[in-house]
């Protein structure tokens, strides 16, 4: 294999022999990273399921304090962003960088919309003293269980929101890169990797939304 000439390929990092090896490595690396993310959220989801069984009436009562309409709107917003992200990957493979930038812009706007809606939801919880801690107040017998519900609600959605925020930053960097190099041929792999991450963030929400907002009183 003529390593000498390939060293000069600007798209090929020095540790790889050829582009195929490089692409395979990046994609596998992303999947392994997503496995760690599954376990990261998994530990907390396990805690939620356990406490939901321990304090079923409290969790059923608490979930009514969440606005399923706002959560639903956010679900639609994220699903839309997943679609535009998939389109951006497609445009990148077609080397249509104008289209790619457009789809990435819509994706970022959706992500920001999600965060804004989440902000309104959070501030409503603050006003109603449903944030765990010294200001927490809830009338009735199920105080402890309700506080646990909201503790896990904030931990889970906060962590997910943090992932959305990271996604905004990463997509922003990607857009800048695509725009800067728009005149030349680009590797589609970075877009594909960001896409994988973004779909993962959406899928986490697809689990969180029914778990937190919808299933409150349903025995499973």
């Amino acid at each position: 294999m003529s390593t000498e000439t390939q060293e000069h390929d600007p798209l090929l990092a020095h540790q790889f022999e050829d582009v195929e090896q490089q692409t395979d490595s990046y994609v596998l690396g992303m999947w392994v990273f997503l496995v760690t993310e599954v376990l990261f959220f998994g530990g907390m989801i396990l805690a939620f399921i356990l406490y939901r069984n321990m304090y079923f009436p409290a969790f059923a009562e608490a979930h009514q304090k969440l606005d399923w309409r706002l959560g639903g709107v956010n679900t639609i917003v994220l699903l839309t962003s997943s679609f535009t992200m998939a389109m951006a990957v497609w445009a990148s493979q077609k080397r249509d960088y104008g289209k790619q930038l457009m789809f990435l812009t819509i994706t970022v706007l959706c992500a920001l919309a999600f965060l804004v809606i989440k902000y309104f939801e959070y501030s409503a919880k603050f006003e109603h003293h449903l944030v765990p801690g010294t200001n927490f107040h809830f009338d009735g017998q199920n105080q402890n269980g309700v506080q646990l519900f909201f503790g896990l609600y904030f931990a889970l959605t906060g962590l997910h929101g943090f992932h959305v925020l990271v996604g905004v930053l990463v997509i922003g960097v990607l857009m800048f890169r695509v725009w800067k190099l728009r005149k030349q041929e680009q590797d589609y792999v970075p877009t594909e990797l960001v896409g994988l991450y973004w779909h993962f963030v959406d899928i986490v929400w697809i689990f969180l939304y029914p778990m937190l907002y919808l299933l409150g009183g349903v025995h499973i």
Partner: protein, 539 residues
């Protein structure tokens, strides 16, 4: 390839650039390995100092050196520093980083920038840990059990948790890097069953790191969340369940024992093969036993909860599974002994360390079976028997494997030989000091001495004094080793490419290796440990 290699004149990864900046911004896996080595050596000395503090206090039955509160902080910081900031990264991040790409004939790991980022994550985590120490140290025990760590501690717990959390991401990144590197970067001809067993062990370790570390991260995140917000996820007074914390913690922390011991087992396979000049007996079994440990190791965590109110049925299941996970370790041990049998034994320093590992790991493993039996565990739980058992695994196994590996590959890493007689003396002193420290603790535990107390009845003193004496010998031995290794890195005899006449790609490149690891294109045409053929003439 074993042509004349003169480290002085040839360009290698060490003499290519001497500036501090070139080290702190390096993307070379070998240099990153050295960065880790320097960092963890400092943490090793901090944690070792704590150990001597603990043992000095325990030389007398009264609490005369430390108050009970200070004692709690000393043993907690001893555990936190040595587990999170020394043992977890030790063999993978130092020897793995240095050797893995060379052993598979690659120029570097798959993601060199991520590799450097891992080291910085580790350093930030370590700094946060040091801050918690400077602020007085924490008193929760290294396990961060709630409610010790949540409602009942006035110490800087969140700093230590943040440290372990951030350092954990360094470990995850290293694991991701290794998995991809082993899958995608192997040289042509290097099939999975031609890989050195060290690589198999690193692979199994990385799988555990990827599956386990995120769970401990989220667990201690929740503990910190509980402390900061005042909600009671693990606090029974506010509806939480402290046993859930223990389940989540050990779901990671039992497999974490294998993160520490598996790489040391990989080192041992390499040292024994080279010192016996023989292919490792039952290569496939040793390779698969690493994967078996990685998988079954995730199913045994409940043996830490036998007396925590876990149901008897769950206890039975976890007990049986724990016995089962001992089998792959036993397979390895038998195969190592069989490798030595009728081998052309070289009684060199690496062999001394390998034999020390075998003996101590055997005792550590067998005493684990006492603890996995439900009835005996009720008597032995939280006694010095447990303390002795896990130190046999973590020090007798993991640390001795790591130091042995450092000796074995030191000529490759530094291009210098250490004084052979000091190497052997170091191994003998560590073995003796270690045994003197921890053998008496099995007896203490069996007699009923609980762990984590700084005072004890008079009749235990003789055993405690023996243990303290051993600890001082061990401390002296470790200091000696650090001194002569550091000395030899500068003043030792120049090392040939293959001082042990060992097989493996790392022995075919100069000592120390060039930045790109090989000056030629690596193609592998023979199985691992191909000792019976004539040496020379491969690739």
């Amino acid at each position: 390839m074993s042509a004349v290699a003169e480290p002085k004149t040839e360009k290698n990864y060490l003499n290519v650039d001497y500036s501090i900046k070139s080290w702190l911004t390096t993307l070379d896996h070998k240099r990153i390995g050295i960065l880790y080595l320097v960092a963890i050596t400092i943490f090793f000395m901090v944690g070792g100092f704590m150990a001597l503090l603990i043992r000095t206090e325990l030389a007398t039955p009264q609490g005369d050196l430390l108050s009970s509160d200070q004692y709690n902080r000393a043993f907690t910081m001893h555990g936190v520093v040595l587990i999170f900031f020394f043992l977890l990264p030790s063999t993978p991040a130092v020897l793995g980083n240095f050797l893995l790409p060379i052993m598979i004939g690659a120029r570097d790991v798959a993601f060199p920038k991520l590799n450097l980022a891992s080291w910085y994550a580790f350093m930030i985590g370590g700094t946060l840990g040091v801050i918690s120490l400077v602020l007085g140290g924490i008193d929760t025990g290294w396990t961060f059990y709630a409610p010790y760590s949540s409602n009942f501690s006035n110490t800087p717990v969140v700093w230590a948790i943040a440290g372990a959390f951030v350092a954990g991401f360094g470990n995850i990144a290293t694991a991701v890097n290794f998995i991809v590197t082993i899958h995608k970067m192997r040289a042509p001809g290097l099939t999975w069953f031609r890989l050195p067993l060290f690589v198999w062990a690193q692979y199994a370790t990385a799988v555990i790191g990827v599956l386990g570390t995120p769970v401990i991260a989220i667990t201690i995140f929740l503990v910190a969340f509980e402390r900061l917000t005042g909600m009671g996820i693990f606090d029974p007074a506010r509806g939480g369940d402290p046993i859930l914390m223990q389940h989540l913690f050990w779901f990671y922390s039992h497999p974490a024992v294998y993160i520490m011991i598996l790489p040391a087992m990989g080192v041992t396979s390499e040292m024994i093969a080279a010192a016996s000049q023989k292919r490792v007996f039952g290569y496939e079994f040793v390779a698969f036993s690493s994967l078996a440990i990685a998988i079954i190791g995730f199913l045994v965590w409940g043996h830490h909860l036998f007396v925590s109110g876990q149901s008897v049925f769950a206890g039975l299941v976890f007990s049986v599974l724990t016995f089962i996970v001992a089998i792959p370790s036993a397979i390895k041990t038998f195969n190592w002994v069989a490798t030595m049998y009728k081998g052309n034994l070289q009684m060199n320093t690496p062999m001394f360390w390998a034999v020390a590992f075998l003996g101590l790991f055997l005792i550590g493993g067998l005493t684990g079976l006492f603890l996995s039996s439900l009835a005996t565990d009720i008597h032995l739980h939280d006694t010095y028997f447990v303390v002795a058992h896990f130190h046999y695994i973590m020090v007798g196994g993991a640390i001795i494997g790591f130091i042995g590996g450092l000796h074995f590959w030191w000529p490759k890493i530094t291009g210098r030989m250490y004084p052979e007689s000091w190497g052997k003396a170091g191994a003998i002193m560590v073995f003796t000091g270690f045994s003197l420290t921890f053998l008496p603790q099995f007896v203490l535990g069996q007699l009923g001495m609980p762990r984590r107390y700084h005072t004890y009845p008079e009749e235990f003193q003789i055993l405690h004094v023996l243990s303290t004496g051993g600890a001082y010998l061990l401390g002296f031995a470790m200091t000696t080793i650090i001194v002569y290794l550091a000395w030899s890195a500068k003043y030792g005899k120049p090392a040939p490419p293959n001082p042990w006449k060992a097989k493996g790609l790392e022995w075919e490149t100069p000592s120390p290796p060039p930045t790109e690891n090989f000056t030629y294109k690596v193609v592998v045409t023979e199985p691992a440990y191909n000792y019976h053929k004539d040496s020379g003439g491969h690739h």
